[in-house]
Amino acid sequence: MAENTNNMLLRVNNLYKHFPIRRGTLRKTVGYVRAVDGVSFHIREKETLGLVGESGCGKTTTGRCVMRAIEPSSGEVLYTKADGETVNIATLEDDDLRRLRREIQMIFQDPYSSLNPRMTLLQIVGEPLTVNKVAHGRDLEDQVAELLRRVGLRPEYMRRYPHAFSGGQRQRIGIARALALNPRFIVADEPVSALDVSIQAQVLNLLEDLQQEMGLTYLFVAHDLSVVQHISDRVAVMYVGKLVEMADTNELYYTPLHPYTEALMSAVPKPDPRAVKQRIVLEGEVADPANPPSGCYFHPRCRYATELCRTVEPELLEVKPEHYVKCHRATELTLRGVAG
């Protein structure tokens, strides 16, 4: 591949996660849900890769496999550590994995269920520090105070419980916890989708500020295309467990090469009453990942599909420098981006 490998932080090769479907008293496996079905992508240091797609497309599962919150079925997750050594997270031993987790943290979607209601902020934000024996006592309190300040919360709040805080503040608490061990890489799974728009802007700004100050790398998993466009340097689009397109943000949004990306962009209602409505309304529904169609998974809904699309699955190819597409007709079609 053409890209510069010097500052590569993460490279995912052929990642699979198949969940078995079990039936009957013997719990016999009768099939598999192909949640993640051969996904490959890379993230460079200090950049934000947005991972978008509709519900059930496997974007969350991909994020969790990357940090091995769930075991991938197969594939490689190559991560370059701060000391320069590259490890495969997918096969790492428990002890090494635990040490590595200091560098990789996660921010969750729901700020209500991801914080323990019986723990104070000091316990929640300080837990990663105590578990990893980084700090205790007075030192712990100082570090938690600094973390709270950093995410825009008052250090005096550290004896309070999560119920005393609003959704936006809770999301800040979750971010403070993720920052506690000074990570390099953060998987953010829909971090703003539960928040109101005025609060969403505050949290997005905070994530960008932190990235600047601490040199963080983000894998930003979300379904909101406007939010992803705002925060990402590059964007990858998933459909039924497969990555269908990946490119630089502006490239992907203005000159998409996959028909699904085009349809997805055109489906977003624009906050402008004068906008010209040229909507591509897709027929039918998202394919079932337990029983996907033949050939290209998108062909039953694609208005450009040919006989080839019905029978042969296309490869993810680098059609232009740094622009990867999984479509037989990528080079012959002229698709409409968000500006059109």
Binding site: G168, D196, L264, A267, P269, P271, L282
Partner: protein
């Protein structure tokens, strides 16, 4: 405005929730109207009272909430034997919430589509049974006729294979199909007003496009009015002609959709429009966020409820008394001291 075209008038509506911790003023003096066949958008953030507005109209406010003041006048149109229509005004707030009259209106003349189709449909009845119940209740037809009409309406909302889906349970359907089922149920009695409370929030964007298209077509074909309650400024821009913006139980601005998006007057509306990332806009470094957060509902700030977060805050004015609603242009009303003489 032509009085004949008026469908619903809300005057100084106040709906309060009486809780142990205190009284929440969910709606605190709202005035607006909907004309026949019109699409009105109600926009605001969570807790602003937009859903309670819909619930107040249908008189289905959950306990311990109550309409404490104000009127909701619903204009019914009864066809006389000679084909002419007579207008009859009913004050919905004066009706017994369990009485016969509100029951004949609820689901019949005013219907509602809820946000979460999984929790608002009964899991132990087929979609057909649930729609047939509404039809037999309001239209007094027999079972066979009700089933025939149900299949027809399922066909109308684009349900795949309506003859077989009519016997499916909600769990056998996808989110988009369930929402189509909800819409079919709401439309089954040809309401004159449809209240759609976040109808596409729980749905994916490509399915949302299908549902919005469907609702637009149905509104045009059936000539019903829609009250579109949502937090999504994109959906509002696409679906409605007129918008009211709510903040802490009050309507802070109301205008034609074009005026509201291109010439917003209230500092809250302006901030809201500036805080959303826009698809296709060149990347901006920082989003304009609204500082602070929505105030504690038990403990509202004095004066204008937005003043602690407002960029145009005038000390000694905004924190002392509440502004009046003034008209700043044709049909454009704002509740802010900046525009007061």
């Amino acid at each position: 405005m032509n009085q004949d075209q008026m469908l619903l008038e809300v005057k100084n509506l106040k709906t309060y929730f009486f809780l142990e911790e205190g009284t929440v003023h969910a709606i605190d003096g709202a005035d607006f109207h909907i004309t026949r066949g019109e699409a009105l958008g109600v926009v605001g953030e969570s807790g602003c009272g937009k859903s309670v507005t819909g619930q107040s109209i249908l008189r289905i406010i959950p306990n311990p909430g109550r309409v404490v003041e104000g009127e909701i006048i619903f204009y019914r149109y009864n066809k006389r034997a000679d084909g002419t229509e007579v207008q009859e005004a009913v004050n919905l707030t004066a009706l017994d919430p369990q009485g016969d009259e509100i029951r004949s209106i609820r689901g019949g003349e005013i219907a509602m589509v809820f946000q979460e189709p999984m929790t608002s449909l009964s899991p132990i009845h087929t979609i057909g049974q649930q729609i047939m119940e509404a039809i037999t209740l309001h239209q007094g037809v027999d079972k066979e006729e009700a089933r025939r009409r149900t299949i027809e309406i399922l066909h109308r909302v684009g349900m795949p294979q309506p003859e077989t889906t009519v016997d499916s349970y909600p769990h056998q359907m996808s989110g988009g199909m369930r929402q189509r089922g909800m819409i079919a149920m709401a439309l089954s009695c040809s309401p004159s007003l449809l209240i759609a409370d976040e109808p596409t929030t729980a749905i994916d964007v490509t399915t949302q496009a299908q549902i919005l298209q469907l609702m637009r077509d149905l509104q045009q074909d059936l000539g019903m009015a829609i009250m579109f309650i949502t937090h999504d400024l994109g959906v509002i821009a696409e679906m409605t002609k007129r918008v009211v913006v709510m903040y802490m139980g009050k309507i802070v601005e109301g205008a034609d959709v074009d005026d509201l998006y291109y010439d917003p007057k209230h500092p809250y509306t302006r901030a809201l429009l500036n805080s959303i990332p826009r698809l296709g806009q060149q990347r901006v470094d920082r989003l304009e966020s609204i500082r602070g957060m929505v105030p504690d509902p038990y403990n509202l700030p004095p004066g204008c409820p937005f003043h602690p977060r407002c960029n145009s805050f005038m000390p000694g004015v905004c924190d002392v008394s509440e502004p009046e609603t003034v008209e700043v242009g044709p049909g454009h009303e704002v509740k802010c001291f900046l525009y007061q003489q």
